[in-house]
């Protein structure tokens, strides 16, 4: 359960930082009058917090999967699924999508329409290419004898990549809704709130994918073994 505990430690750190701004040591029974609200202001839209909390939930989901993966490898020594080189390319595509979306955010914030639409389309294409690439990896592995109902290592690979892909697909639908609304309005700045949330979501999914990719490569177990050796 090391992976989920590490993830929760990170969440606890963020929560602790937020709580430290809430005047937890104050004495509310002695205070009368209108006190300013600490910890949020006009810059933090509810949507931003919604996505941030949702990412914590999704992160918890993948961390649990990661924990189960690492735990089972330690209990039952399997042969890991040899990941095709295509997975590296897919990872690059997701990184590109994330970068393009960040560029859209910067453009929308500056109010410049130049390259904005092109970046939005490029981000969408890169994301769809990522999904198509993952599907191709599935087909390659299945053809190579690594079936879903084969070894638990193969089952984990399909489950982890499948759940991650579903989350990316959900993001694509949300991005399409944001883009369509923008196409109707035509105002560049009006695009900003929606696309900012999409970019945040994409960055989160990219970060999760990088962690999962490392686990599927077996690096997570190697890292844990190193840590244990250091502690031991």
């Amino acid at each position: 359960m090391t992976v989920i505990l590490a993830f929760l430690a990170l969440v606890a750190l963020v929560a602790g930082l937020w709580l430290s701004q809430q005047r937890l040591a104050s004495k509310p029974w002695l205070e009368t009058g209108i006190a300013p609200l600490a910890g949020h202001g006009p810059g933090r839209a509810p949507g931003f917090i919604f996505i941030a909390v949702f990412l914590a939930v999704v992160g918890g989901l993948f961390a649990m999967l990661g924990s189960a993966f690492v735990m089972q490898i330690e209990e039952t020594p399997w042969e890991l699924v040899p990941l095709p080189g295509r997975v590296w390319l897919n990872t690059g595509l997701l990184l590109l999508a994330s970068l393009f979306l960040q560029f859209v955010v910067i453009s929308a914030r500056a109010g410049t329409a130049r390259w904005l639409n092109a970046s939005l389309i490029a981000a969408s294409i890169a994301t769809l290419a990522f999904l198509a690439g993952q599907a191709q990896v599935w087909m390659e592995l299945t053809a190579g004898g690594y079936r879903l109902d084969g070894t638990p290592a193969a089952s984990f690979f399909y489950l982890i990549t499948g759940l991650h892909g579903l989350h990316v697909l959900g993001g694509i639908i949300a991005l399409a809704a944001v883009a369509l609304r923008h196409a109707g309005a035509g105002d560049v700045k009006a695009l900003l709130p929606g696309v900012r949330l999409c970019a945040l979501y994409w960055h989160g999914l990219l970060a999760f994918w990088l962690m999962l990719f490392a686990l599927l490569q077996g690096w997570g177990n190697a890292f844990l073994a190193l840590c244990r050796a250091a502690v031991g």
């Binding site: 509310p28 205070e31 109902d149 759940l163």
Partner: protein, 590 residues
């Protein structure tokens, strides 16, 4: 104890939260069925939870009939008994307690108590309820499929949960159970995100985190915990569903069933236990923390006294929430763990007793020299404290490895968790309903029926679960359809079992009186007015009772915490949170 106010304090800072009135529904369906008003959603959640909870109650009767009078009722077969055990546990823990505390009280109270017009994302909130309802319907459907619902026990441990020897294992029962849980978690996540973001971002002017009523602190912390703990159950359910439907072996080792080697192999059943209890133990506090918060408010209001140690209460809630994530394996002492892990988990388990004890002391000290009104909500709050302490003490036994091992899987464990996680939170739910019913309906619940309800429930629950501890101590194992008179029992238990079953039937029956009271009082209850308990928190200060959609004419401004009772020099024995009264002797209320 109140600061001397100054004119500067009356200069209002700008609002940090925009005051936007949510769009009102115009059709009957939009208003009452697909409602986006958190208050209606709360009632929908609570109604559904109570309805499915009644099914679980009837199943507990059937179980007790079998245990108390074995061989008397032919229709209770061994398979049916295991199905009752499983469905009773799962329904009570997930579909009743979690749903009613977070979906019911969370939806009704959070917007009102923080001074918001509604949840931040009302549409998602509405979806949350309908997905929950779908989860309940899928669960109910499992009663009607061939083989019936799963009888794997509420923990659903593999590999037995998906094998043919378990009721519903080789048929659809286990599949529907897992699908229902997955749907529940999706629905809860929609609602939970709303509760958390509403508390974080929709508090009205002046409502700092340290002015929130403890009810909101409890529900908020439990929500955050649930958002982080439910993914463990989600992952476990998806993986087991894959094992059952797609032939994977996440949790399935190499197996021989009825002389045939199955196609499974290489999986780890223990991994499921880790995932399940990583959700399962926080789940105890997901139910308990809202109860802690609510009972704090009930005690303060009905003892006319500010809550003792508010800061400590907040810290304790947060610390309990955090610690509950590192104790899960105390449910797995008999699964064969390294002794050092047993030592670690026993230690963390016992450490949780410290913040929990702080809360109990603070409740008692709040009562100390208070102007205690023995209203029905107060009776239930007192009942909760006693029961929670009793259940908590046996938890100290079971938290220790050497004591837990011989008591594991006995009726002692059943008695313990029913006291701490069944009776205690149910007491709070009842108390809370008696307390907030006047705000929800505008009428008081009938006092005489309430008294009968409380005393029969309280005494009856002890008649059920106190002797059950003894039954466990003499060695009666749990989850046995019929044990006869084995030699390992150190004393006969037949008479006690019959007594427990009789008490359980009476306790169950008196809940019908409670339901009758709920419906009877809707029309015939005494009119309550806006604030019959003279409570200080914001939900009692709405311009209308029941509050309309949008809750407020203008969003209220908050000047103080929620516990200003019996303030010296104040014009009344309570000061509402939105009351701009200062203690310099001058009444400057606008």
């Amino acid at each position: 104890m109140v600061d001397r106010g100054s004119d500067d304090q009356m200069q209002l800072p700008p609002r940090e939260v925009a005051d936007v009135m949510p769009p009102h529904a115009h059709s009957w369906i939009g208003k009452y069925v697909f409602s986006q008003d958190a208050k209606y959603i709360a009632i929908q959640y609570s109604g559904t939870a109570v309805a499915i909870g009644l099914v679980a109650l009837v199943m507990s009767w059937l179980m007790r009939l079998q245990l108390g009078f074995p061989g008397t009722f032919d229709f209770i077969t061994a398979e049916a008994y295991y199905q009752f055990v499983t469905m009773h546990g799962m329904i009570m823990v997930i579909y009743l307690l979690t749903a009613i505390f977070l979906g019911g009280f969370g939806n009704y109270l959070i917007p009102l108590m923080v001074g918001a017009r509604d949840m931040v994302f009302p549409f998602v909130n509405m979806l949350s309820y309908w997905v929950y309802l779908l989860a309940v319907l899928v669960l109910v459907a499992s009663f009607f499929v061939p083989g019936g619902p799963t009888g794997a026990g509420w923990t659903l441990y593999p590999p037995q949960a998906v094998l043919s020897g378990t009721p519903g294992g080789a048929q659809s029962g286990i599949i529907l159970m897992l699908v229902s849980l997955i749907l529940f978690i999706i629905g809860f996540t929609m609602g939970g995100l709303n509760y958390a973001v509403t508390v974080l971002q929709a508090r009205t002017r002046g409502m700092t985190m340290m002015r929130l009523p403890l009810t909101v602190w409890g529900i908020f912390t439990a929500t955050v915990m649930a958002l982080l703990a439910f993914p463990a159950l989600f992952v476990a359910c998806v993986m087991m569903l894959f094992d059952r439907l797609l032939g994977t072996s996440f949790f399935m080792p190499t197996l021989v069933e009825l002389g045939e080697k199955l196609s499974y192999g290489g999986g780890s059943p223990i991994a499921f236990q880790h995932l399940f209890w990583f959700f399962g133990h926080p789940e105890v506090y997901i139910v308990a923390l809202p109860a802690f918060g609510i009972v704090s408010d009930l005690i303060a209001v009905h003892a006319r006294k500010n809550i003792f140690g508010y800061r400590m209460m907040v810290w304790a809630i947060v610390i309990i929430g955090a610690l509950s994530f590192i104790v899960w394996a105390h449910h797995m002492y008999v699964s064969g763990m390294h002794p050092w892990f047993g030592f670690f988990f026993a230690t963390t388990t016992l450490i949780i007793a410290i913040p929990t004890a702080i809360k109990v002391y603070n409740w008692v000290l709040t009562l100390w020299k208070g102007d205690i009104h023995l209203t029905i909500p107060m009776l239930f709050a007192l009942g909760f404290i006693v029961t929670f302490v009793n259940g908590g003490l046996t938890g100290l036994f079971l938290g220790n490895v050497v004591v837990d091992v011989p008591l594991s899987d006995t009726m002692f464990v059943v008695a313990h968790f029913h006291m701490v996680m069944g009776v205690a939170p149910i007491m709070v739910i009842f108390g809370a309903i008696y307390h907030w019913y006047p705000k929800i309906t505008g009428r008081m619940l009938n006092e005489a029926m309430g008294q009968i309800h409380f005393w029969v429930t309280f005494i009856g629950a002890y008649a059920v679960f106190f002797p059950m501890h003894y039954v466990g101590l003499v060695g009666v194992p749990r989850r046995y359809f019929e044990i006869g008179e084995p030699e390992f029992l150190t004393a006969p238990v037949d008479g006690l079992n019959a007594f427990i079953s009789s008490a359980a039937l009476i306790v169950g029956a008196v809940q019908v009186l409670f339901l009758f009271n709920i419906f009877w009082s809707l029309r015939r209850g005494r009119e309550a007015g806006g604030n019959p308990w003279r409570a200080a928190s914001l939900e009692w200060q709405t311009p209308e009772t029941p509050p309309r959609h949008g809750n407020w004419d203008e969003l209220p401004d908050v000047y103080r915490w929620a516990y200003d009772y019996s303030v010296p020099g104040a014009p009344e024995d309570y000061l509402a949170q939105n009351d701009p009264w200062f203690s310099d002797g001058e009444d400057r209320r606008l």
